[in-house]
Symmetry: D2
Subunit: 433 residues, 4 copies
């Protein structure tokens, strides 16, 4: 067991486009960054398929993880240090949890988790606790240190103040990704005054509160978040790529179940299909591996798999129309029938995708417990929930917004020539959505 | 044959972090971007292994190619249009050449080209001229249009003005990549006033000249270029990753030649080894494919291949010392001998890497013909070569700067314990470099 | 009468921190910028006393005016040109109105207009129509051109499309000042994607509409506007400076009325006091003139004038407390009485200042006619009012926010020592606000 | 005498566009900022007449002074603290000297100092040492503290390390103004990585050295400085305005000497003319006062004064041609003669202005002593002068660049119609320059 406070002989820095520099003074952090499990995050894009919509969004979870670490470091070293409710003994724990919070993310995790019922937080925990380089480094602090890091990330740690630094409605994770994703996509949303927000953060018992003088910066953050969700994260073109990705995975799974004779066997996927993924299997999955298979499957005999893989690699995405699940359910069924008649399998070529977000919420006991509200520290020393002070936040508070779209391969329909009437029928239904 | 001037019903845009937006009005450009050969550039990083030094440098050749197109488009549509020496008939040719100029780049091309004696320009030409989606789109303009595009890119086209837009000491290619690479790495170099430079560009007979009122912006560009070369492109850590990559390729090649029984056969590399790469083979190579092999080879029996692949994937790079080829050649030989004694193959674990750059050069007949000088258009209508007007450019003009480094695996040496004396001998020699 | 379309032999540019460059190709615009009435705007700060809160806000109405011109120029030349509902014949009129729309602004206009019941729009009109250099330049186009420019600025021009470019809930004026004021103050609010907004603008009959694909950029603009109002324009410290300025003007007016023997006679103010300001008088007023008088009056015998001028020049501002006019009216009266007792004239040393803003409003017939709503052009070609499509805008639409503050000189109260009980009484009342 | 280390109960911040925020924790600094002598700097533009060339350059010496303070604060608190050669006891002295270093600057100081043989450093010293609010605040530290601050600013202080923070070839003063002036003018020069430079600064005996790993950032700073000098500070249009300003002052001085009956007496200038300027006289001079006089003098009977003042206020500047003092001295004399013949007084209407700069210099004993070289701290612990390590700096080191221009009123010449032949003669000579 060694002293977790060992400093590097010389501070190391990473040039970072978002924060200027990421500063590392602690040997422990430096060693964690050097582990193979952490380096693996370089091969997982932060925004999955978003690069097919915003070509700049090619950044990895590696750079985001460094960013979250840096934000927490600045909060602790430049704002919290010396504050009465802050326990300096939690510094290293907070930094490690910040750095490692996304460690279990796999490639294109949105689609993978959906199709294979995986949970990246489960794997983050395993990487931290099982036999890995990361675990070995963490254990140099103390035998229970990995466990404590895992608890912070899974939000079960007793000191909720530490938890709230990386998991709350305004935390280092969100503050980094909003700015980082805005920077790499190039959109003008996602900007807010993080320096100002950090300066008004105060540790207060078991959570972080914000001096009311910084309320407008917090409002601005919430608006940025809202815009990033609808402008970037839920962009309909990105969702089209996600739909195709999901359909590829479903198709491979079905073919595997049916003993289809793959030219390129889905070796790396086998344990996913059989639902007995080990940590070692999981760590081998990264984006190059997935894309390699897709490449190979472009040459499979199965026309559906082949077509979907080519679409993904060559970015021939599905088109979309607005869809109202309440009103248009019947029409969808009808459309599926017509697709079948035309020989286009609706299971793979017709898909509804829904996005939904709650920009900010106050506390509703028993409903969404994790949504702890943002509290302002008023000049008189009392706390006040954000939406009570901000008319703008109040206006959007608790208002869930949902969007449904129906995706389909326009090119196949336009090329379809066997039954002209059927084709017209399908196209005219799609036009009416 | 169709009219190359067909416009899209509605202008399309790509959000671009460097230029704000990339604007596409011509159907031909839109169709080229949609081809699979162009989409493939999404899977080739613009800066190869630089992301292992600057974590933000994960951007692809796809976004750079769009950028060069946009710069040329702005020059033509906003500056050249209507200028006496500009032939509007060359507009579409210029745009296509700009968009496609890097089409033949493969993954980590620096190392690949070195080890396998490839030339990306050769493949760019093949993609444009042979049976590809790109060729099919280009041929809609006229049967000889692909040929003309290829000529512009290979600098043999008769109208040197068009050539100089994308290949000269100050061209759209360089102006895009300096800014783009600066943006994604986050360094503060690489900024210059491109808007100003574009505004002072004038087509003058067969090349582009710059009104002398913009001289300082051009100076600034040359200084940016100089800084980017030494701060980013030739960064010693990036070169360490390149060294390892090169050694992996050399090792695989040697093993293949020696009929080594690979667990994972280098199928995609076979034609490279046999020096009969077809266009189809070449197009299948992208970064995910390469990284997939490296992943697999982490489990090979051959200890050298296995070690090098793990180093690359986990970023355990070689250390380096300054090296003077003139003075230290003997010492290097001695070191190789000691490595051999210690059982560390110097062919793979000791490497000299040299970087060299000429920041700007005036015209030297017979020497480096392609280095056409930058000409300023003086108020009196005469042309003057840049270094005659700018004292700063004159000061660095023609001065080649070269840097040599010797790379070696420090960790292996430190862990080596069989012959303590030998170890000390090696380490003390390395210290003296 | 000359051709208004005369171009300069060479385009002129102004380097502008907000728009990169301001481009001038038309001789008419160049000549207008060179007039003495337009150059006078260099001596009027864009944000009045805001520089006393945000030290960067020292920019003038000159740079804002150039900016509005440039925004309108880009809209017309890069978006509207060739659109069916746009009349290219209105181009020059629109550019002139954009450039000249603030021409009648005087120094610290907020306070001056309040105290002297002036209206800068009235003077803008006079400068355009009466005997000035600006008028002479405008008349070179046609005898009625000045009249038409004035009508556009006063919103009475028949072509409401032209009017709406510079006067609507989203116009070139607001788009420039939000960005410019954000830039110079350095706040992180005020950013929105103007390029995107401009690209989706469409002339539609008699106003500008916005393609619905750009809705989020418009939302972002409205949020920026909201934040700038409350964070910058209504900043309580700025309002403190405005209060003092207003009190100075009131005091001088009162002293003048009472034939007070000024050491430095308020010569330049005489016609303001006598309410017979001529255009020539008005044009002589600029910030240096006002500040010169304040300087001089720092030495007057009258203690109130002297104190207020010193406060303004040395930035010894009033402190403030929140004030509720409905509830605290009586307390204010009481306080005034106590001030009088203490020999502190409440007329000059106790002031309520109110700020109020309506972030966005839909159309309410008969109420606030000028608040024309923002219309989105939906994919089906129909128009839809913004707040019907945007849940965020709907949430804040029509919700007026008002803020009242009570200002007083804390330093005088703290220094007051003649009647200790009285002092405590006053301070304790102020504490209770 | 009080403790200079008294902290404010709450840190105060100024929003600053260049540094994000200026942080003030020390009561002493807060009190200095509040003095009337420091507030006066709000009424002196940082770049004098440059706003007539770059309209954004309207920022004051107030904001620059805050900026220099903030840079020194960051260097001390974030880099120097705890370094062996740094004496923490000099912290407050360094901060005060940084904040106050430009305190004695008057309006348009370049021209004023030239015409009236003034020296702003002399007045800075007087303000710090004589009976002022600044002096009163400084004396709260200790009776000799004002003297020590003055010594640091005049570079005579014994601890040269403190001096070099604000006066050396790379100091906080230059680092702030290059960035600030670039920001407000909007030019793309002036950017360098100040964070990087600060991180490699090391106190080393009696000066600041730079770790060699930051050499490229230092190179970039020197190039920025070079570009800012020639692109912004020596811009020929700005110099035209300076010429006119100088001529106004010379004319007023001459008229005063000749007992010219001013309508508006130059009261504030009297002690300048009589060369007995007291501190109180000097402090009354600020830009509004000067501009007020120019305003008034637009109506004087003297045609030269009247014309020059109108030119300055309305920005009707002189045109210029290149001038070679060695070759064209005779031609200038001839031109003066012809001007006189035409009734245009060459003393006021013909002026040569020279600009000259040495971008960087190494140490030359006995020549320009104050030009202390920049030293790099090499990995082996030795120091090496910058130009020995940087080929780019070496190339420009010690190379003085000078530029001469001849200014004249083109409009007067073009309007001149009394002697056509004489007019042609003058114009053709000017064309030949």
């Amino acid at each position: 067991m060694v002293d977790s406070s060992i400093k590097l002989s010389e501070e190391k820095v990473f040039k970072d486009p978002v924060h200027g520099y990421v500063h590392v003074r602690d040997k422990l952090i430096w060693d964690l960054i050097g582990t193979r499990e952490f380096q693996r995050l370089r091969r997982v894009k932060q925004l999955g398929t978003t690069y097919l919509t915003f070509h700049g969004a090619e950044h990895s979870r590696f750079s985001h993880s460094l960013g979250v670490y840096e934000v927490v470091r600045q909060i602790i070293d430049e704002v919290f240090e010396g504050q009465p409710d802050w326990n300096e003994g939690e510094r290293m724990l907070s930094l490690c949890a910040a750095l490692l919070h996304d460690l279990g993310h796999g490639p294109f995790s949105h689609s993978f988790e959906k199709v294979f019922d995986l949970d990246h937080e489960h794997f983050t925990k395993k990487i931290i606790l099982e036999d890995t380089e990361v675990n070995r480094v963490l254990r140099t602090v103390s035998p229970d240190f990995p466990q404590r890091v895992a608890e912070v990330i899974s939000k079960t740690y007793h000191d909720k103040l530490v938890v709230s630094l990386i998991s709350s409605q305004i935390d280092a994770d969100r503050m980094d990704y909003l700015q980082r994703d805005a920077y790499f996509t190039g959109v003008s949303y996602g900007h807010f005054d993080m320096q100002r927000i950090m300066r008004v953060m105060r540790p207060k018992e078991d959570h972080v509160v914000f001096k009311s003088s910084g309320m407008h910066a917090v409002e601005d953050y919430i608006m940025s978040r809202y815009q990033m969700y609808w402008q970037v994260y839920f962009h309909p073109v990105t969702r089209s790529a996600e739909v195709i990705l999901t359909k590829i995975l479903q198709r491979v799974k079905a073919l595997f179940r049916d003993d289809y004779p793959f030219k390129k066997e889905p070796v790396h996927f086998r344990s996913l299909f059989e639902e007995n993924v080990t940590l070692q299997d999981y760590l081998k999955l990264d984006e190059p591996v997935i894309l390699y298979y897709f490449h190979m499957w472009e040459e499979e005999e199965d026309l559906i798999l082949r077509d979907l893989c080519r679409r993904f690699m060559d970015r021939h995405l599905f088109k979309y129309v607005e869809f109202d699940p309440a009103e248009q359910y019947r029409t969808l069924r009808e459309l599926e029938e017509l697709f079948r008649k035309a020989g286009i399998n609706p299971e793979y070529y017709l898909a509804v995708d829904s996005s939904s977000d709650l920009p900010y919420d106050f506390y509703r006991p028993g409903e969404e417990e994790e949504r702890l509200p943002i509290h302002l520290l008023m000049p008189n020393g009392e706390l006040s929930e954000l939406s009570r002070e901000s008319s703008i936040v109040q206006a959007i508070s608790g208002k869930r917004r949902t969007d449904h779209k129906l995706y389909y391969p326009e090119d196949i329909l336009l090329d379809y020539s066997e039954n002209r009437e059927l084709k017209q029928q399908i196209l005219s239904i799609l036009k009416k959505f």
